[in-house]
Symmetry: C2
Subunit: 185 residues, 2 copies
């Protein structure tokens, strides 16, 4: 069975990625490693620079994933700092910022970076939705209870979340490329 090493400190993220890999017959192993994530304006920039930093220390191919919630009316906030903002303001803080705001458009974006000794390659996925007016649902994690797609929040979707997930889209692009490559190489 083919294997991929995934570096993250987030168990929820690992479980989702592992599940997507399994469907395609790829086993995803978890490596917990602390590394200096650079500040930056885009997920792509952060993922690429992080991969360069990890590459110095980990001498085997790996993937990392970075994602964020970008709210149109808040100029992309919380964006690249979504996890910090979740830990401090949480979903209640986002709802407070969005109080009385009519344009509730938002996008969840995910970037997967694959890195081996020759290269770094980026794969991205996104899901468009709106910020709900209150938290709903018990599934998922992070901003899932306030992010709504076709009338349901990601936290209300249960397994259906997998179908629309930004992380799934990025992972599927990566896995497709990775499998083609393994077969041809």
């Amino acid at each position: 069975m083919r294997e991929v090493y995934f570096i993250t400190s987030n168990p929820g993220k690992y479980r989702e990625v592992k599940r997507i890999g399994e469907e395609k017959g790829i086993e995803i192993h978890w490596i917990e490693m602390e590394y200096y994530e650079p500040q930056g304006e885009s997920l792509e920039y952060i993922a690429e620079k992080s991969a360069e930093i990890i590459k110095e220390r980990l001498k085997k191919p790996f993937i990392i994933e970075d994602s964020g919630l970008f709210i149109e009316k808040l100029k992309g906030f919380p964006g690249v700092y979504s996890s910090y903002v979740f830990k401090t303001l949480g979903n209640e803080g986002i709802l407070k910022l969005m109080k009385g705001v009519e344009n509730r458009n938002a996008v969840f974006r995910s970037v997967v970076a694959y890195c081996d000794k020759d290269r770094i390659r980026l794969f991205s996925g996104e899901v468009r939705g709106v910020i709900a007016h209150e938290q709903r649902g018990r599934g998922g994690f992070g901003y899932d209870p306030i992010f709504e797609v076709n009338g349901r929040t990601l936290a209300e979707m249960g397994k259906d979340k997998d179908r629309v997930s930004h992380r799934r889209k990025a992972m599927e692009k990566f896995l497709k490329w990775y499998m083609n490559r393994s077969e041809s190489g």
Copy 2:
């Protein structure tokens, strides 16, 4: 005249630091340089790691400064990401988050890192205050119009801001050390 190189992309910060240096007879020169600022939980961590990164490229002694506004009731938000939050949410966003919040305690913190070929040394300063209920004053920059000390916002203080400034306190600690060191060395 003794000289120090200061690396920043913020002209307002440069002007304040230059003024403080002049009072002590130290000329502060501005170097504009892009560098990867790491993400991190504390100003100290970010300043130290940034200095290590710059040190690889700049072969002369320099200082950098990192500062942030830490609001008690928001678990330290916007903290280390104050400049990103200022660009996205701005002062209006902070006021919205603080609407109806009674505990308005906040602290402005500054960390100056000095780096030469032998070492990195950190100097910190802080000013305690409260988040105002509305923006007031036309001076200063950034969060100055919403940060209140003894009834006046930093933006209302004009030159008096220099007396209480967190950045000044950190800079004065640095300059004192630097001058003693120059004299004894």
